[in-house]
Symmetry: C2
Subunit: 700 residues, 2 copies
């Protein structure tokens, strides 16, 4: 690992104040984090790999035996495995880029805030470009295979099979999000409860055995998990658009080759727009001092949305037929589609900015929460929860409006392209998301390698902006997940042809199975959240015990300049717990649609999907914003009232409660609603005959 | 007020140990509580009365001008006002019974635990009998008016007009629940934060200025509010059954007079069953010592359900036609209806017992939460939230099963009678619900009038059981609210004839307005909770300031045997805040269906109702159980670890967070979902032509 530039390096002047000894420490700490993250990902992917093979066989058997269409089944499983591999690769590459850039951000920040920002931001950008490009290339390949080998009549079912690609991506993403989420919060809470609270050490103190695990957690949870999640959304919305476009409700478009490539063209142009947008942050309006950081990141969202809007119109103009065509059950013109995409794009921006309003301490909501700490932790929690609940209102109206507009204009196809609209500036969102954990790690490395306190101040400033953008990224992720799931819900209904008495396709809430399904579906996010929150508690408890054990058995590690604690044990404990605890929530998500579909039928399953979608969106948004608000209320009190006060104590309790909400259970819900929908789409052909499910068949 | 029995009174021996001086104090404290509760209720009912008149005029204008059917409109408004008056009366009588019995419970408990239990339990019973009887008598009168004046052809729409009765009941209930909920928690939190935390006084110390307001709160929130809520459920489910039975989808039943009386017969028989059940607690297996109290109350639920089951069959046998008849869109036999009612009845019991499992510290879930206090308040909150989320699972499955079974057997009529099934043992539930606050007050009076500490121990034992039964009552209330709302949803759809392209009635989730409505509807409970939680915070802050002011300006009130603090000021502050803060949530609940229905149409409104129903159920159950669990975890720690420990401190924070959740926002959600549904039913005739709403009309 080459962190020390040569004597002739023109950038060497940046390293003034960073002596060789410290540079060595930086390298060693960064290597430890990188090794820990690798170790976790390899073990996680090992188990996920086994699971994927088993699941692929299950898919093969279920789909193949029931539909007897082995070509389609084979292609579904092939797409599934390809999607999984792409997602694994995306998570891994993202994580590698992050662990590669954290030490560099730290060293650059040592000499210049602006350059530190640039390194972290560009690292996030590279991650975003890689993920989206990889997805587009593989999807293009799959479409090309279908196009070259099948006539347009056969192609329709084969396009449905490509949905396997989305399923693969989301399955890996689920384990990444849940496993990574448990890992990062177990390490974080464990490190805090013993190191900070009991031993009065500062954050990232190298004497704390859990400190490396904590920094590893940022990478495996926020980078690999988030990357896989958004990659899944991207793959699924593209698949949903294709399934709806190629279904029997749509004619005229599937025969038109450029139109099939429309989703990919949209995402590809998003890469270019994001590249141009990034120049605004790196060249046009570079970060000069601390107050520039947050505006600079926020500007990215607005600029990319502004630039993307005309580009969307151009893509619509060139890739869609100019005669009216029939799609998603409606006759549409090409500029209808433009409005659908634009609606998604602009809602995404609105959700981003509203999230920022509710989670940044620049605005009154977080300041009110901070103020409530005056009367103690209880009022802090009550006000934080009220804030989280309230923050749901506008995003839900935005999503509902987008649904209404795009649904009315172009049916389910409109929803699918609106989801693509939110995700069209994905590279920018990923860059902003990736930026946070990289700076967090940079700060950790600065502290652990004993750099001057001023460096820590700079990395803290970089990191603080990252907290807000992390919340914005989560709002973005859940908004897109909602639209993607709805599009998949539409694709599912199209495939299984849910009909009610007459021959009209309808998911009718006046039917018993549909309504019971809706109610149970609305419960699933609660069940899932209960599981993941408790998992974090259990894993954190394991970590607390290990850290206490090390301090008791080897008290000399707590001394200044004492021997290194056993970091590896802590990493192993977090890894083991995360892998063990991700099984039950994973099973809940994967088995619910399977059991519901086969035993209670497609009507109940349609209700279940709708219920989990509308309820999951609310908990996901409120959890993420509650957590973000408590975190920033604490930061606000630290800056304005001071640490070691009663108010700060109350704020720390809120922050700790928010941790599993914002980093584990909340973001995992995106995957819950998406994965349940895509698994239903993929199993759709096998479920066609299970109108009322096995139960009714047995009793009949 | 006659609390001192004469010398010849055979019960006089019970008063050994209670000297005349203390008896006088008991009478004076009880009078203060009674006066405070009266003052709040009178002021509340004054404002509610003005609102009711305005709302009645609005109904008259809206319904009359749009439908031009002035007879029906007039009858709707008449029923509405009658329902409001009955509900106001029920709340007031219940509260009077409670304030009349609290001192008696205290004095009886002074000599004998068993007799104390009897007084409190019988007071609750009287309240239950009064509420249900009043409802039945008024409803019978309304039905009789229709029957004597109209032919069966006209009667159908007039029966729809009786829904106004349910609307009146629920509107008053909403203000009772929200206003009472804010009152009680503001006083509770205010009394605790200054008196207990800052001044180190014990609970109910007479030197604390907010202590009377705290005791008043138990009466206006838990007695008047809960009574009005359950009365509303009862009135609404009876109305829903009648609307569905008299609609065009049902023939054969509305012509059959006994069948129309079926809902009332069911509830009337429930009074008898509850009376018989109460003998088990008062005579057959009386309470002898502390450990008998909780089992005795729990036994009531089981025994009443067991006894009610054959009675339901008898009622079905004698009141329903024996030939198959057509109702709710299905051809049914009389014993189908028995199964629907029984399904509701037994789910109610199941939900009650499951709630007990999750909120009583006799079982592992609460003990786990208590154990998590070892690592501080944050883990306490996380584990409590996880428990609340988890406790939703089985109740939702119970409700979903009931929906499925009764829907399949008898359509929407099945749902309506299943709701009547849950509520058939309402007098028993109300007795159990009323028991808790009465004992709570009795304890307060014992403390405030300086009775021997052993008396307080006894009233505490009585009260502890009341905490668990309060949670059970909330589970019960939300379970019935869910079924009632669904039945009303069915009645609404029947009235406005929501149809999708063809002439089949369907609420189709594949339509843009329906799905957008569903999503927004699922958000409303969050918005409402955010409002009510914040209201409690604001009102509590006002109370804290007033109590602090009194201690600062007149420090001698804090001395032993000092002058009385100004209790009345605190009562006024709680009253003012509660009345002011109940406006916004009330407006949200009443205006949402109005705006949605007229501007976006009945399709969007159908979605909105379904969304708020499925999402509200989850938050209501989880909030109530979270709060109950934190409360009892604190009690468990007090008993097993001790007060003044770090664990107890952490537990108190959880308890305070739970207070607004379990007593304000959670239970108010029942009303949200019921009221939105019934208002849609009542406005149904006016909404028939607003298929797509004004917005679409304007744009078209």
């Amino acid at each position: 690992m080459k962190v020390v530039p040569s004597e002739n390096d023109p950038q060497n002047h940046l390293l003034i104040g960073v002596n060789r000894d410290i540079r060595g420490k930086v390298a060693s700490m960064s290597a430890k984090i990188s090794k820990g993250a690798d170790a976790f990902l390899f073990r996680e992917y090992f188990y996920v790999g086994i699971f994927l093979v088993v699941f692929a066989i299950l898919l093969l058997v279920l789909l193949g035996l029931i539909t007897k269409d082995w070509t389609r089944t084979g292609f579904t499983v092939f797409s599934f495995l390809l999607g999984s591999v792409t997602s694994i690769l995306s998570g891994f590459v993202g994580m590698r880029i992050a662990t590669y850039s954290n030490s560099r951000t730290c060293i650059k920040a040592a000499s210049n805030l602006s350059e530190g920002f640039d390194v972290a931001f560009k690292a996030g950008m590279v991650m975003g470009f890689f993920l989206v490009s990889a997805g587009i290339i593989v999807l293009f390949m799959l479409i090309y295979i279908v196009k070259s080998n099948y006539s347009m009549d056969q192609a329709s079912t084969m396009f449905e099979a490509i949905a396997g690609y989305g399923l693969g991506g989301s399955t890996v993403a689920m384990f990444g999000r849940v496993g990574g989420g448990i890992y990062t919060k177990a390490a974080d809470v464990g490190a805090d409860l013993v190191g900070k609270v009991e031993k009065m050490m500062s954050e990232d103190d190298p004497r704390n055995p859990a400190t490396i695990a904590d920094n590893v957690g940022d990478n495996v949870g926020d980078i690999a998990g988030m990357g896989a999640d958004l990659f899944g959304s991207f793959a699924e919305s593209s698949c949903a658009a294709m399934v709806v476009a190629s279904s029997s409700d749509s004619i005229g478009l599937s025969a038109y080759w450029p139109a099939l490539l429309f989703p990919l063209a949209l995402s590809s142009s998003g890469i270019l727009v994001s590249l141009v947008t990034s120049f605004v942050a790196t060249h046009l309006m570079p970060v000069k001092n601390e107050t520039d950081i947050e505006p600079s990141l926020k500007r990215q969202i607005g600029v990319s949305t502004l630039l993307m809007t005309p580009v969307v119109f151009i893509i619509c103009y060139f890739f869609l037929p100019h005669d009216p065509f029939y799609i998603g059950g409606k006759t549409v013109k090409y500029w209808y589609i433009f409005f659908c995409v634009a609606c998604g794009l602009w809602s995404g921006m609105a959700i981003g900015y509203i999230t920022e309003y509710y989670t940044s301490h620049a605005w009154s909501p977080v300041r009110e929460v901070a103020d409530s700490c005056k009367t103690g932790a209880a009022t802090n929690i009550i006000f934080g929860m009220a804030l989280g609940f309230k923050s749901v209102i506008i995003p839900v109206f935005c999503i509902a409006l987008t649904i209404y507009v795009s649904y009315s204009l172009a049916g389910m196809y409109g929803i699918a392209v609106a989801a693509l609209g939110i995700l069209s500036t994905l590279p920018t969102s990923l860059a902003i998301d990736g930026y946070g954990p990289i700076c967090d790690n940079a700060g950790g490395i600065a502290e652990m390698s004993g750099m001057a306190p001023e460096v820590r101040v700079r990395t803290d400033a970089l990191d603080a902006a990252g907290n807000t953008t992390a919340a914005v990224g989560k709002g973005f992720a859940i908004g897109s997940a909602a639209l993607v799931s709805l599009a998949l819900f539409g694709a599912f209904v199209t495939i299984v042809k849910v009909k009610w008495p007459v021959d009209h396709q309808a998911v009718d809430l006046l039917q018993p199975f549909e309504f019971a399904g809706l109610l149970v579906g609305a419960m699933l996010p609660y069940w899932f959240s209960a599981m993941t929150m408790k998992s974090v508690g259990i894993a954190a408890k394991g970590m607390v015990e290990e850290v206490r054990r090390q301090f008791t058995e080897k008290p000399e590690i707590a001394h200044e300049n004492g021997p290194d604690p056993d970091y590896d044990r802590c990493i192993t404990i977090s890894t083991d717990h995360a892998l063990r605890e991700m099984v039950a929530p994973g099973a809940l998500v994967l088995l619910s649609p399977l059991i519901c579909g086969f035993f209670f039928g497609t009507h109940a399953l349609a209700g279940l999907l709708a219920g989990s979608l509308v309820s999951g969106v609310q908990i996901a948004i409120s959890s993420a914003n509650m957590g973000g608000a408590w975190d920033n209320a604490k930061k606000y009190i630290e800056a304005n009232v001071g640490k070691k006060t009663e108010m700060h104590k109350a704020a720390v309790i809120g922050d700790t409660v928010g941790d599993p909400l914002k980093d584990t259970s909340g973001p995992s819900l995106n995957i819950l609603i998406k994965l349940m929908a895509i698994i239903s789409v993929v199993l759709g052909p096998a479920l066609q005959d299970f109108d009322k499910g096995l139960l009714e068949k047995w009793f009949a």
